[in-house]
Structure formats: C-alpha cells, structure tokens
Amino acid sequence: MQRIVRRWMLAAAVALVTPQVASAQERRVTGQVTRQDAGTRIEGAEVSVIGPTRGQSVRTGADGRYTVTAPAGVVRLQVRAIGYRREEVTVPATQETANFALAQDVFNLSEVVVSGQATTIERRSATTSISLVTGDELKRVPVPSVEASLAGKITGVNLQSNSGAPGGGIQMQIRGNNTLLGGFDPLFVVDGVIYSNASIPSGRGLVNNAADPSREADAVNRLADLNPNDIASIEVLKGAAASSIYGSKAANGVVVITTTRGTNGAPRFNVTQRVGAFTPLRLMEHRRWTLDSALVRYGEPARAFFADNANPFFDNPAAIYDQRKPSLESVVDVSGGSGGTRYFVSGNWKRDEGIERNTGAGKQGLRVNVDQTLGSTVDLRVSSVFARNENERGWSNNCNNFGCHGYALTYIPSFVDLTRRNADGTYPVPAVSVQSNPVQLTELGVNSEETNRFTGGTTLGWTPKIGGSQSLRFVMAGGIDVFDQRNDVWTPNDLFFERISALPGESVESGGRSRFFNYNANAVHTWDLGGIDLNTSAGFQYEDRQLTTFQIRTQNLLPGQRNVNQGTNIQANEALTQERTIAFYAAEQVRLFDEKLLVRAGLRAERSSVNGNIDKYYIFPNVSGSYRLQNLFRTGNEVKLRAAYGETGNQPLFGQKFTNLLTPLLGGTQGISVSAAAGFADVEPERLKELEVGADGSLFKERLTWEATYFNRNTTNLLLNRVPEPSSGFATQVFNGGKIRNWGYEVGVGYSPIQSARVTWVSRATFTHYNSEVMNLAGLPPFFPAASGFGNLGRSRIEVGKPITALVGFGVDAQGNRNPAISQLGNTAPRFRMGFANDVTFRNLTFNTVIDWQNGANVINLTEYLQDDGRTSPDWGSPTWATRYNGYLKGAISPYIEDASFVKVREISVNYEVPRSFFSKVNGLRSARVGLAARNAFMWAPYRGLDPEVANFGSTAIRNNLDIGPYPPARSTFLTVSLGY
C-alpha cells in the first residue's frame, strides 16, 4: 500500500498540497537541496512527506533550504525539482535534518506522464514511449507557434512548416501518415481540455483564383494561439497503447500540454522583454537579360526597358521582401500561493514583423491558473486563458491571376523595376509579361486575420480517507475551448490583376466559430496486496466539438470600397460541422516483483454521432507491460524492456455519412440536383492497431540514457473515397476498407560528458525513421488523394505496394525522352530525421543549440517549373537548365522533383545569468538574465528552391511537398532581457 500510494501521490503531487494543522504528534525536518557535482543550491525544489499519511509539501528558498512539518516517527521525504532526478530518503524518528544532492535528469525520466484520463506514471516506469519536453526547453528561442519548438527535440514526430509566413502554419505528424482521408491532426489536450487545432483558410485563394481556394490559402493552424511562455510541459503520446485512452480521436497521436501552475510562497514576478528581427534566409534569383534575349522573349515592347541602361537588372524579390521592422515581445507573470490557494497569472504581448512588406503576426494573452484545496480531501484546479491572435499573411502560394508574389515573380523579367512609380505616385501599367505588380499588391492588398479565444477548464478531485492498504480517488474534469476567427481579404479595383477582371475589385470576409466542450468523470482505486500493487480506474467521457465556417465573397466592388456590401456579386457560404462522442473506459495496472514488472490493460467503448450507426459502441483495447532490470553489471545501470499493443480509431469526418444535393440557382428559382459526391450511410471509424516494443536504459548513474523503440502499426477499415466510374454520375463515394502500414524506429540518446561545478554539458540526439506501405485498397485502383498536385506536374499517388507518400509523374529515359507511363519519382517522407541538442553551461553562461536534420524526401519544385515556363530561370541557358528544360518540353516532371534534405540550425542561444552581486542593491530583484537567440539561423540544403519545408496545400492527410511561390523562409534573431522579482 505504501508504495502504491506513494506512486499515486507522486502523480498528484503538484495538485495536492494539504495544509496541516500542527499537533503534538508532529515534528519539523529541515535541510538543504543542492545539485550533485556542482554543489549549487536548488531553489524551488519541492520537498514532500510521502507515505500512507499525507504530509506537507514545501518549496526550497533561494538558499536551497526548506523546513517541513512531518508526522512523528519514521517518515519518507521526497524531493522533486524540474530537471533533476527525484530523490527519496527515510528520515528516522529522531533525525531533524535531511540534505539532498540531486543529480540532473537529462532525459526527464523523473517527470510524470499521463497513463490514463486520471492517472499518470513516471516516465522511468512507463510501458510505452512517451516524449516529454519541458517548458524550459520550449522557451529559449522565440517561436511563432509552439509546436515548431519541438523540432529536433523529440523522436517519432515529423514537423514541417508549410511556408515562411509569419504567425505559424505547421503540420505535425506522429509516426507517419495514418489515414488517407480522415482527420490527420493529432489530438491536442491542454490542461484536460480538448483544444482545437483547426486551420480555417482566408479568402486569399478566392481573390487569387487559386486552384484549391481553401487549401492554398496557407492557413494558420490554431495551435498558434497558445503562449509558449505559459507551458510547463508537452507530452507526446505516440503509440496506440498510450493514446488508446482517447479512443477514436487518437490515431494520429495525442499531444498533452500542461501549463505552468503556482507554487506556495510569496508572489514572484518575472518580466521578460524581447526585441528582434526577421531576415530572409533565401530569396528567389533571376535571369539576367540582354536586349537581344528580351526582344526574342517579349518582342518590341521590351526595347524601352533597355533605353537608359544596356544591362538593367532589378532584384525584385529583394524589393518585396524588404521589411525589417523590429519584432517585440513582452511577457509578465506572477505566481505564488499560501494556505490552500496557489496561482499563476501571466500576460504576453507579441508582435512579429514578417520579411514581406506589410506582413506580420501578433498575439496577446492573459492566463489565470488557480489551484485550491478544500479541506484535506478535495482539490480544485481551474485554468483559464484568453488569447488574441492576429496576422497579415501576405500573398504567397498558388494563384491564377498573378496576385501572388512568388508566382508572379517567376514571370516578371528582371529588367522591369517593380518599384518604379509614375509622377503621381501610382505604378506604371505592366508593359511586358504579366498583368500584376507585386509591389503594388503589398501596398494596396489586405489579407488579415484576427482570432479571439477563450479556453477554460476545471478539475475537481476528491480523495476520501479510507485508510488501510487501499485508496480511492474521484476526479471530475471538464472544459470549454471557444474561438472566433475572422479573416479580411481585399483586393481593390486599382490592382492591375483586378482591372482586367470581369468583376473588378473583390472583398472576402470569412472565418469560423469553434466550440469544443468535454468533460469526464473518473474513479481510481489502488490496492497494495503486499508485493502486488493494483491500480484500477474507470470512467466516463463526453465530448462535443462544433465548428462553423463562413465566407462572404463580394466582387465588382465600388472603387475604393471594401465592405462586402459594396459590390454587385455577393456570395455567402456557411458550413457547420459537429461531432458528439460518449465513451466509457476501464483500466487496470498491476505492479509486481518489487516494482520491476508493470502490466497495464484497458478498454474504451464509445459511440459517436459521426458514425453511420450512432448506437453502436466501438471498443478500443490496449495492453502493455514493462520490466526493469536494475543495477545491470554495475550499480546505477538499468535497462527497461517494454512492449505494448493498442488500438485506436479515427472518426469519420462530419458529413461523410450524408449524400448531399446541390441547390443551384437558375432564373431566380433554386433547384435541387444530384451532386457528384456520394456519402456512406454505414460509415465507421478507421482502426489503428499497433505493436510497439522498446528498451530504455541508463548507464553511469544516468549520465548516459538511451531509448529505442520499434513500432509497427496498421490502419484498417480506412475511410476511402472510391472514385466510381464517372458514367455513374458520381465522382467520389466514401466507404470503409483497405489497410495501410507504418513501421519504424525511434532512438534517443542523452549524454552528459561534463558535470562539474563550473561546466556542465548535456548532449542529446534523436533519430526517427519510418516506412509506410499501402497494403490493400479494398479493390481501389491507384488514386490521387485530394490536393495531390497538378495533373502531370507531379502528384502524390496511393497505390498498393508503394509508400503512402509516393510522388509520381512522367520521368525521362536515358535518351532524354519522356517515359510512356507515370511512375514513382519520389517520396514526400524523409528517410530519417535526426535532432541534436546541446546545452553547455559555463558558470553563468549557457549556450544551447538545436540542429534538425532531414535526410531524403522530395519536393515538387513547381516554382522552378514556372520560372522555366516564364523563361526567367537564373540558370537559363546553362547545361543544368538544358537537361531540366528538355523534361519541360517533353512533358516530364522528373527534373523538377528535388531532394528535400536539409540541415537547419533551429535554435541557437546564449544566455547570461547576471550574478547577484551586480544587482544586490536593487530592491527586490531576484534574478536577471540577458540572452541572444536565433531561430532557423542557418540552413544547408541542396534544394534549388527557397526552402524544402514547403506545402502549397497546407496541412493535408498525405503530406504534400509542393513548392509554388511560397512565402520565403526567414531567420529570426532576438535579444532577451528577463528580470525576476
């Protein structure tokens, strides 16, 4: 019982702080907590009395000292501090001091991670591979959207930014592509509240006549609303056995985000100010023209451009991406607590200025987290945050009217000076090439977004005192996440591409309202049967997710007007999606053989409104186990073997069970007619089955730790779109069937070669490799998923026996002729990804780097294709161009499918902790820190385009590396000053 209660309390330790009424049967224990090797004092470490009777929990002061009230008799004290290994000692009845020297916890093995709706487990004992990143690692270098800061730090996760636009836009993929048509986003849970990561497009694609107006609008995924400074930790539940507790929303993995909470003590203020700038990492290059070459290409109109200068050359990309305004961020937080109340309040104000003229992103937020204990058995946690997010994303990605910079620039010859103005300040009408001027667009066009969001959650726990070898805890938790996004896009009549439109001048107001609501009720029972610990949990969950998107598009605007009322052709659109799920679960965890063997098993049953049969319960089981071999060969060495099997699901999307009718308008009458998309009335969730085996270990008293995992996952009963023969009148039909497989290895190694009083050096490396294969398509022929590409210009294709991420198109043979049939030319998934993180501390100076290496993968470089088509390629006429252009002429795309390998220095930072002696006279100042940090500081890539991390179609189920005039990548550099009071 003792042990199991201790385990459990460990899990709940942060939440449960119980005031003790002093009595005659209590005593005081004092001591100091220091860092092993260095001997420096650890401030803020949590010292708690653990054991069958709950004890006090206190924090160490700046001197590392603590005083704790403990029951009379022998007690066990536990010390926890972020970044250090947990320590426990037994304090005899007569001993009044207990000092601790904590070793660094390089791999966060002492952190607890979720193992169920209401249960947690120390990573050291976990039966599955769960990655954990602490807030400290996330905050070092400013980031547009928090998930970007995971890059290079964890295994099994493939992060990719869709473009360099300010404000985010990142896709996160855990253990590969696990669906072809279903939802592809991981499930995000913030403080127990299911958090929307919707990407709601602006009207940019509409005004630009994009092929796929919604996907090509380069939407921000709403995880960008989180303030990275509030985050205490991010856990990534990769395997099905771990994520099975979230049922049919978990096939793509679950990301559990925990925000910072208050600790007991006097109020502490932290103030951080950052100032920095964004600069281009790469910009498009251009062909240089002579009068002769220009005359051949553009005819007589080109002659005028050579009148004053025989070799005119204007770096137009540099003129568009020339914004260098300072970016600013201010963060303030205060935390503290006394009695049964603890609080954490933070506010942030941020503004990033993009490299493209008049683009940028900003956010503001206010968070209040309160923890309250009621008596000694009830604890209440409340989290709430209001966030406002805004951005101006500019004009990038595909378009069909040259109203997007990258695309237009591929056709605008470098002898044209886009910045040249007429005497009255207007721009001259483009005389050669395309009817658009990107510089004019940056000045007149509007593409802005604003989101206001509230997320609040409450957790109520009750731990009745029942004594003996059993304990019981009830937890009820619930929360709501609502946001309102609004996008304004305006392309006024004066723009050159609007002047030639049949309906000149366009304004699109669009956006979405999202409301997620979830609650759960859980009971956890623990029982110590002497050598066998049992932990039983069961509960109920209810989830309701609703998203309404709307769009009002107006064309033929009154000149100068932008209100959607002020045009003649107004189209309104609204789409509501809603999903409700009810689930029950039960789980059992058994610990045997002195905690060496741990076995878990669980079952979740759920039914959902999006399934064809709303009354049917779908069952998702999981079972896992781990065995720890301690003190192997030598004291302090340990190896843990683990294996897990689990099943999760992926819900049908809203509407996949309905066959809708079209409602066209003709002659003032609204008709109804059959649409080309057929639904499936009996649609079911996809099912992911995964086997995961692994071993974790540590050597030299955890100076070196490692973990290795192999996984093999099959998704069956896939949501598929049959493409019926077009002669049926239907273009698509949803059905369930088929199977895809993802398998791979994840390896993490951490080593701390130097741990001395002056210098510590911690080095970590992660390696992720996975493969995928389409096993069975239920009789479907190879098909192109949505947003797979542009016809013969290279596409993703799903074909049995091939990787899910295959790119196909026409190749060329040895003679330079186009092959007769399309074949696989590439793969959008990398061969492997590696991350290297190094943290070096020398006295008060810390130096951190994170390097992200992607090996393999391919990009379809259509920007280069367009440059060749526009005859503006910088290497026009060279041998490399000639080879490529041969493919262009013959209708082969293979020369444009390029290597997407890269090495990026994601983060590099230097921080200086100002010694106290410098500011000892400043009243109240506790700490001061100065730092310099850069994100995406350097990139090495053989890619001929701007950035191999690119996705014209944004986040899609099948990762699509398509490059069509994206927003160029940028490096950000920030100077940070932090003060603590």
């Binding site: 069909n400 009720a521 009971a523 189209q571 809708n660 003709l666 002659g667 003032g668 009148g729």
Partner: protein, 483 residues
Amino acid sequence: MRIRHFVRQWANPRAAAPVVLAGLLLIGGCGDLEILNTNAPTVETLTGSPTRTILARAATGIFSQMYNDVATEVGVYALYGREGFNLLGTDPRETQEQFRGPPDPTGRHSANWIGPYQAIRSINTYLQSLSTATGFSPAELRASQGFAKTMKAWMLHRVAIRTGALGIPLEVDQPLGAPPAPFVSFTAALQAAVTLMDEGYADLLAGGATFPFAVAPGFASGFNTPATFARFNRALAAKMQVHRATFVGCATCWALASTAMNQSFVTATGLPNSLSTGVTYFYSTTANEPANPITEPLSSNRFWIHPSLLSGVQRKADGQPDNRLTSKSIAAGRSINLNDLIGTHKPIMYNSTANPALANLAAPIPWINNEELLLLRAEIRWNTGDQAGAISDVNLVRQNAGGLAPTTLTPASPTNDFVTELLYNRTYSLMWAQGTRWLDARRYGRTGTLPIDRPGDIIYPNMIIPAAECDARALPTPCLLLR
C-alpha cells in the same frame, strides 16, 4: 467553515460512492447523438416520396445541370479546333497539353464525363420519382417525361461525340456500386440517344398546355410550353441525325434528319433578325446564378482568336472581312507571344455590345438557333438530293450573317467543295460557341486541314476515356478499346 462541513459530510466514501456512480451512469445514458446535416438537403429529399413542389425544383436542377461543361465545350474545344488560344500563362498546360498532348486521363480529361453523367443521374432520379409521384395529371406526367428525356438524350449525345469511336457507357441508370455499365460503340450510342430524343418528342406532343415546373429563362422566347419545347427537341434531333450521318456514316439518317428539321423551328423568314431565334444558355450577373464563363475584358490575356480565322476569312464586296469575324473579334492593340503562340485579336462575341472592351457576364451562349439550323438544313439538303436548296440555305447565312456575296457553288459542284464552303460558314457562324471547328473537322475527316502552329503540335482526334472509367473496369489507362 461551511465548505469544510460540506466536504466532511461528503467525504464519507460509503455514503458518496453509490451517489457518484449513479451520477456517472446517468450522464452516460443520456446525450443525443442524432446530429443532422443542416448544410444542405440530402438525397432522401428526392428519392423518398417527393412532392410536386420538390419535383418542380428537381426540374430546375436538371436545367441547371445542362450548363455542366458548357465552359469546356466552348473554351477547351476552341483550343482543340484552333478557334483560339488561352495565353493567360498561369497554367502551362494551356499551351502544352492542350496543343501537343499527351492527354492526361486524370487531369483535364478526367473531368470530361462527370458533368454530363451527373446531369444524367439527376434526370434518371427525376424520371424514377415521376413514376411514383402523385398529384400530376397524365398530360403533366408526359410533359415532364418529355422534358427529361430530351435533356438526357442531348447529354448522352454530347458525351458520345467527345470520345467518338471509343464509345461510351450507355445503360447507366443503376444503383451506385453496381458493376459499371457496359460500353457501347459510337454508332450504338448515337442511335440510343436519338431514339430517346424521339420518345421525348412523343411525350411532349401529349404533354398538354403547360409544364408543371418553371422553364429555364433560356427557353423564354417561344420554347416554354410542351408544344414549343417539342420544336427545340426536333432541332436537336435533326442535329443528332446529321452527326450520325457524318460521324458514323449512317446513310439513312439524312432522311430522318430532314423529317426532324421540318418539325423544328427553322425558318427563312424574318432574316437577319430571326438568325438568333432559338434556345440559349441564359446567364446573369445576379449572384449565384450562372455567369458567362468566357467573357472577359479586352485587357485580359486569357482568350485570343486563332490567327487562321483572321487570315482565312472571306471578304465582302467592299473588301472588308466577313461580318461574323468583325462582330466576334477585335484587335487587342497589343500582341502576346506565349510559348510561340501569338495572339493579336480577342474574342468579343460575349462582351458588352455597347462597349466590346467590357465583359458581359449576362451574355447568353446559343444552345441551338436558326442560324445553325439553316446550315444544318443546307447540309441535309445537299445529302438528300436538294443541292439547289442547300446552296440557297448557305447563301441565306452568308448574306444575312456575313454580309458576303452568294457562294459561287452550283448544284453540280463537287461535294468536297460544298463541304469546304459549309464548314467555312459553320466555323464563322458558330465561332467560340460549341467547338464547331473541331467537331466538324472530325466529322468530315479533315483534322489534317486544321492549322498547326508549332512543330510537334497535334489535333486531338477525340477526347480520351477518363482514367476512373478505365480503373472501374480494371483496365490500364489510357483505355482505348472497350466493349
């Protein structure tokens, strides 16, 4: 202290646990998971037991789906038949694949069938619903069936002439998921379509005085009752028979065409105004109504007139070009060269008549009109022994539409010369309207006479079968031989 008291009272697990558990079950038991689709009506609206009102709306839906692919027929066939270029430059395929292949069975050509067949499914659904509907008079039922069969027959014909000798699936009225309908030959497809057209005609003649639904605005000028709609039916039937006679060499079809022509609205009176009498695809600037897909301001670089139409035009007595060229095209005042395709003149047949530099989204596109019927009649007459009548009809169009002198052909002229003259007139009368130049060149085996702008460019002999159609039969794409 009240809270403490409350907590203490409820802190007794033996008292509280059953309450908590009962509460959990209660919450779990309720919860409504029936969430309906509020975004659009679902197919059950049509297949259930639809009311008269719903069927009237379904008829409007059918009219609306007849617009499917009009943009393709006009804008894409115009490129195939070298009536023009698309030099906007945003899509390299416009100057590459469209002019020199290879045709992409999954790209442009995959969208080739879904529009017509989607309309056919709508019509089949409508016909099935009619068979169980109540509240219609027998005449109304016949009128509705006649309308639906006319539209279905025309859609089958449209799709058949695209793929030509490759054939099409015909018996597609079956549940989704059934094995794909078998292909029939070009000959059989054309015959089945016109047979259905004839059935529709019979229904329309028994269709009473009015349709039980709103007839689309393109029929407003004299084709909106069963009796007058029947004349539109006959006009299409005549055209279909002519296509049979020329595409697949049906010698007996000329006589059938002649019969149908005589029952249509063809007229030699009231010229030149009556040239445009007929049915149109009606367009409007009203939001959400269909808008003309071709029209654009003169400043746009998208559509251009093919130079061969400028150089090949016949001259009027005063030396000026054929009116049909000058009223349908205009010098842009600039020249565009995109990948060696050169545009100097823009099509303006759908632009504002007051100011041809401006787009007119409400410009109708002719579906079938008297000008086309006169030329069809000329073609029929030449082939049914009335060469003099044929020359007379050609001259009606030459003089009234083109302002040209009468043709120098005589009834004794070789048929080849007549065809040349006929196709000249069809090209200029139906310029940028339905891909006439391409279809005619194919009908008469004259694709070799169409201009080739660059070495390596080709004239498509037909469109290819969409990849999905081959896939559904487990045939490799492009699938050329089907049975």
